[in-house]
């Protein structure tokens, strides 16, 4: 019964090894899908390359459906899985700031590591920027500590907020995602750009 490490089926140290292996899979798929290229990543905002949309949402619905089915078969206890706690103001503010960083830098941390691994110098500088950004946050922490800790909502699920069951919500997300893929394909045809 998963999660394996929580139920003591694997040890904490094995877990770290697993983290490494999972990371390899993560990096491999990201790079293989083209996420090591900032131009492909930024493409979703201009319509010429919606790979971000497709990969991201396909992964989300695959994981959602997969985990729900596994929970159904009793292979995993979803109540024991870690979920990031929701602090509403900082989640939104952080998201906005990250959005600025995304459109400026054309990377997010995970993809920048992929770009770095294959030699992209812009990715390397993005990573350098990450360190600086984190340092600014930690050094100036007392300035925003109160804001950062406000609005604690626990770990609400979107399905709870909308009053739907998890399965119904997953279905809804699937429909929305498929719709977005359709639109994405259309924009790619409409606004093509040379890939380089």
């Amino acid at each position: 019964m998963g999660p394996l490490v929580v139920n003591g089926i694997i040890s904490a140290d094995t877990n770290l090894l697993m983290a490494f292996l999972i990371g390899i899979g993560f990096g491999f798929v990201l790079e293989g899908s083209g996420f090591s290229s900032s131009r492909k990543l930024a493409g979703v905002f201009y319509g010429y390359d919606t790979v971000v949309l497709k990969v991201f949402f396909t992964a989300a619905i695959t994981a959602m459906v997969g985990l729900l089915f596994m929970s159904l078969f009793g292979w995993i206890d979803l109540d024991l899985v870690y979920i990031n706690p929701t602090y509403l103001p900082s989640a939104i503010a952080g998201g906005v700031i990250m959005g600025v960083g995304f459109i400026m830098g054309g990377f997010c941390p995970g993809t920048s590591f992929c770009g770095l691994a294959i030699g992209k110098i812009d990715a390397m500088l993005f990573v350098a920027g990450l360190f600086v950004g984190v340092l600014i946050f930690t050094e100036g922490y007392p300035l925003w500590e109160e804001f950062y800790k406000s609005g604690f909502k626990g770990i609400p699920k979107l399905s709870e907020s909308l009053g739907l069951s998890d399965g119904l919500l997953a279905f809804g997300v699937i429909v929305v995602a498929l719709g977005m893929f359709y639109v994405g394909e259309w924009t790619e045809k409409r606004f093509p750009r040379k890939e380089y």
């Binding site: 019964m1 999660p3 490490v5 929580v6 139920n7 877990n15 619905i61 459906v65 729900l68 089915f69 929970s71 159904l72 009793g74 206890d77 979803l78 109540d79 024991l80 899985v81 870690y82 979920i83 990031n84 909502k153 626990g154 770990i155 609400p156 699920k157 709870e160 069951s165 998890d166 399965g167 119904l168 997953a170 279905f171 699937i174 429909v175 995602a177 498929l178 893929f181």
Partner: protein, 205 residues
Amino acid sequence: MNSRTIFSLVFIGLGLIIAAIPQNTTHPYKISAEDLLIEANSRTQYFSPEELAVLLINKDPSIQMIDVRDPEEYEKYSLPNAINIPLSSLLTDEWVDFIDQDVKMNIFYSNGSLKANEAWLITRQLGYENNYVLEGGLNYWAEAILNPEAPASTSPNEEFAKYDFRKGASMALGGGALTSSSSSSSAAKPKITPRAKKKRAAGGC
């Protein structure tokens, strides 16, 4: 286009199945009888009156007093900011979000410790965490904190230190006889949004 149609149909199909099947709400991580016995004997679930006094004086926000006696007794006297969950209604839907959560430490109390212990055993067996018992209940609380007994002049220093602490706690908590009514309005239910019990596997982003 063909592979995309297959892709879409597969996901729609899976989505329909998962949407149709009712939510899986079991708590498989319950505690075994042996483990429960060990925990009960370890007495780690107890808060002594002194420990509770410190928390109450500091207005520690992480605790939640739960009075498991009948409503009439609760109305007559209850600890500060305590809510009343009579033992007989412990397992109703109304209270499940209070006894099964991971935000606060619930401290059950009753007149002695019989009912509080029962509440603890039941909730622990269901796998709920963060529930504790006030050692000795209100009877011991009154004796120890509200009306502490002065030690004999030949008692060791620790007894005097404990007495001084208890006297101070008693004054801070409105000591004297057990006649004062509860300090806060006991009618309003404190706001707790429903949360599933989570055991942190690992944190971080």
